[in-house]
Amino acid sequence: MKGYMGKILRVNLTDRSISTIDTKQYEQWGGGHGMGSAIFWDLVKDKTISAFDSRNVVTLMTSPLVGTLAPSAASRTEVQGIGPQAYPYEWFTRSNVGGRFAPMLKYAGWDGIVVEGKADSPVWLDIRNQDVKIRDASSLWGMDTYETQQEIWSDVNNGLDYGSWNQVGFGRDGGRSTQRPAVIAIGQAGENLSRIACLIHDAGNAAGQGGFGGVFGSKNLKAISVIGTGNVEVADPNALMQARIWMKEVHGYNVDEPLRESPVDNFSLYGTITRRPGFGALLLEVTEPSRPKGCVGCYMNCRKKTSTAYGNEASCVEAIFYTSDGPENANKATDLLQKYGINVYGILQHGYLRDLYKMGVMGPGKQIHSELPFEQYGKIEFAEALTKAIAYREDIGADLAEGLPRAIEKWGRLEDIESGLITLPNWGYNDHYDPRLEVEWSYGSILGDRDINEHCLNWSVHWLPLVCNAIDQEPIISAEDMVKTIASKLVIFDDPMMLDYSAEGIYSEAKAKMIYWHRHYTRFWKQSVLYCDWAWPFFVNANVPDFKGFTPEGEPKFFNAVTGSNITFEEGMEIGRKIWNLDRAIWILQGRHRDQEKFAGYVYDVPTSAPYALTAFENGKWVYSDCLDRSLDRQKFEDWKTMYYKLEGWDPSSGWPKRSTLNELGLGNVADELASKGKLGSE
């Protein structure tokens, strides 16, 4: 199939050897996550090792669509490995980063990178087309991510400026480029083995969750730089071009003449409905001259770049990390996270620390000693002190660098997680959308390895009604129409009840089908083919008169145009099911059992007290419910889990896949491995 470069770069940092893996062996997995899981399965024999063990393997995979004109599918890198962040178990996990790294890797001739072992001194990986070198990073170690990247840019271009054509390869035909190398780097947080350190690329792209910054640090890997001048082959260039234009003209937000635009000026949040450029800042306004900024090949461009350069390329939660001291300081605080390489979700609830201070539990000479300037909480000085402490493991930063759940455990305050004083509902991850209500999110998270961060339904069932309510606008599409539209697109099912978030609906068989659909869709189409979470799937499109978005036509259309394959949407879902089962097997080998798949106590015990918009079938009709006064019922959730496991073909007593299921998916060898460890589900 076209779109693949044919080779995966394999780097062993222990013996500093460089070799290649033939992509063909893994092509059946599509790309991205599927390949990463399969490679991890093959290369890591003992899956019970910890994240900082040198035998941990990190994969950074692209897909055949990366580097092509496929809209919002050209720029993403799927990062996988055992991550140190999850609590209390270090699950095999995933993260994803946009920008320009993945396409540049493809142009250099690689489908992905596999990093094994540990270097005996700090190194960085210098990839220039097919020329790969492991280079000494002693001069880079200690630098923040911005300085690191700029140092590497200068090194790769022999100290010359950028702004014209630079020679990349040898000779007249060795390849030239006007582009800077794409660099992924860790900051001081990763160097100091923080569990909440992330991988940073350019100014604001990150593989945030999972703690891969620390994993890189544990391998003494400071950065990976890549510059390429080669081609990605496309099976049907004309079809790809025409499909891309279709996407823009039919489904895109027309920047000059939008079909629907926000009734309120400078209101980024309405972009969750219209997907207009620069909506990534969500709650924040544009406060200085800026431009929208997009990753390579995007047709939406959700980020932005500012005139001060503060907060460049920041988006979503990292942009709202610390907003109490004005917009410029908010951007500066965000930049601190980017530079130190700290996952915003590792410290987003810094208000909790202030609460502990106010309770007299934390502070100078207190039970939890800290000399952070709590009196200046809310000002930029506090954010500076906090982020520095985490990056360098100073003061309470030494505990916070272990991630909030482990810090809280050390402080002997696990009851705060249970009570919901701090909301860490699943695997110690920061809550994202209310776990008591938006269950495709919480169920998917607890059945997996992390906060899922898959907005597929969320944009429509939650944000659309929320945003319209926020500006006192009647929701532009009724709940019934929305549910019917989405259901018709949830191919393989088409059951509107799957979108029912009512108090009963969240435990239903239809909800089991929803999660079943969601896990498989995301594992293949989003995390393997690498369609961006913020653009795909698109169910309810405000830029189209009848609101019908481009799922499920769009996904196979671009995949087939590039690869020359003729896969259907359903076939993709089936590959996703295979990948999901492989991931399940890995977690089971790491010790997973259904008894662990439980939320923090508050999810069950503390009812919601603020309106939270979701589609619900209540009193015989579809509405956008406020979902007030609801929490999750322990027993009903356990019963729902049983229903779900059965749907997946897993043994409901343990949550382990059955041999028949694995055989059906061509994973007989996985069944053998599970059986040998006594962890195969009973038929």
């Binding site: 004109l69 702004g163 001048t229 082959e233 025409q242 920047v255 635009e261 005139s307 460049n312 390329e313």
Partner: protein
């Protein structure tokens, strides 16, 4: 050693030889050749130009991907005839440069080409294009382009120069291009930051940098000045 017949044929040969020498020398004078100053010939102005709005560009590089896809049938940033360069750490608006061919009225690249591979194509609105079969790889056109990041691109795969032809020749796209047709970059740009025009733009240091942002763009909060 028979000298006599040789002397005779040598004399004949000299006659023929010197006549040929004169003939050839005179011949090279004629077809617009090297003895005449090329600059005397006026090169007609192009009937099409690309305007860009650097403040509107989102740096997604879709134009570059579309350019190489439609012309070469594959995706390669180094083969794109429009180049977008950006620095993540610099502030707006100096963080992005859009480098498209200006279809100069007095094109140094056309004048530099010794084999007339790079010429003004009278069948296609006088667009300055490279007839790639004639390119000998001397790279004078690349050096001649006065703009940093030369707008003429060295195609290191097919070993010849190439440049923006306003999509006059896009073998991998079904749409017609050229001054009366569609341009790939214009068609895909999600920000509508590239525009085609038939009127010669006014020269400026910022190179056909225009304001393509209207009131709707302004409503999203981004500047329209």
């Amino acid at each position: 050693m028979a000298n006599e017949p040789r002397k005779a044929s040598r004399r004949d040969f000299l006659k023929v030889g010197s006549a040929s020498l004169i003939g050839l020398s005179v011949g090279t004078l004629f077809p617009g050749g090297t003895w005449l100053d090329n600059k005397i010939y006026a090169i007609p102005a192009s009937e099409g130009y690309l305007l860009v709005d650097t403040k509107k560009c989102a740096g997604c590089l879709s134009c570059m991907l579309a350019c190489s896809l439609t012309h070469e049938g594959k995706e390669n940033l180094s083969l794109s005839r429009i180049q977008i360069m950006q620095d993540s750490f610099v502030g707006f608006p100096n963080d992005i440069t859009m480098s498209q061919c200006r279809q100069c009225a007095y094109p140094p690249c056309v004048e530099a080409c010794p084999t007339k591979a790079l010429h003004a194509d009278e069948n296609n609105g006088n667009i300055r294009v490279v007839e790639t079969g004639k390119c000998i790889g001397c790279q004078r056109c690349i050096e001649a382009c006065p703009y940093d990041s030369n707008r003429v691109v060295w195609n290191h795969e097919s070993k010849h120069s190439q440049k923006c032809d306003l999509c006059a020749n896009t073998p991998f796209w079904e749409e017609e291009g050229g001054p009366d047709g569609k341009q790939a970059c214009v068609a895909v740009c999600p920000m509508n930051a590239i525009k085609f025009t038939k009127t010669i733009p006014t020269q400026s240091d910022s190179g056909y940098n225009v304001n393509l942002r209207n009131v709707h763009y302004g409503k999203t909060g981004f500047p329209t000045n």
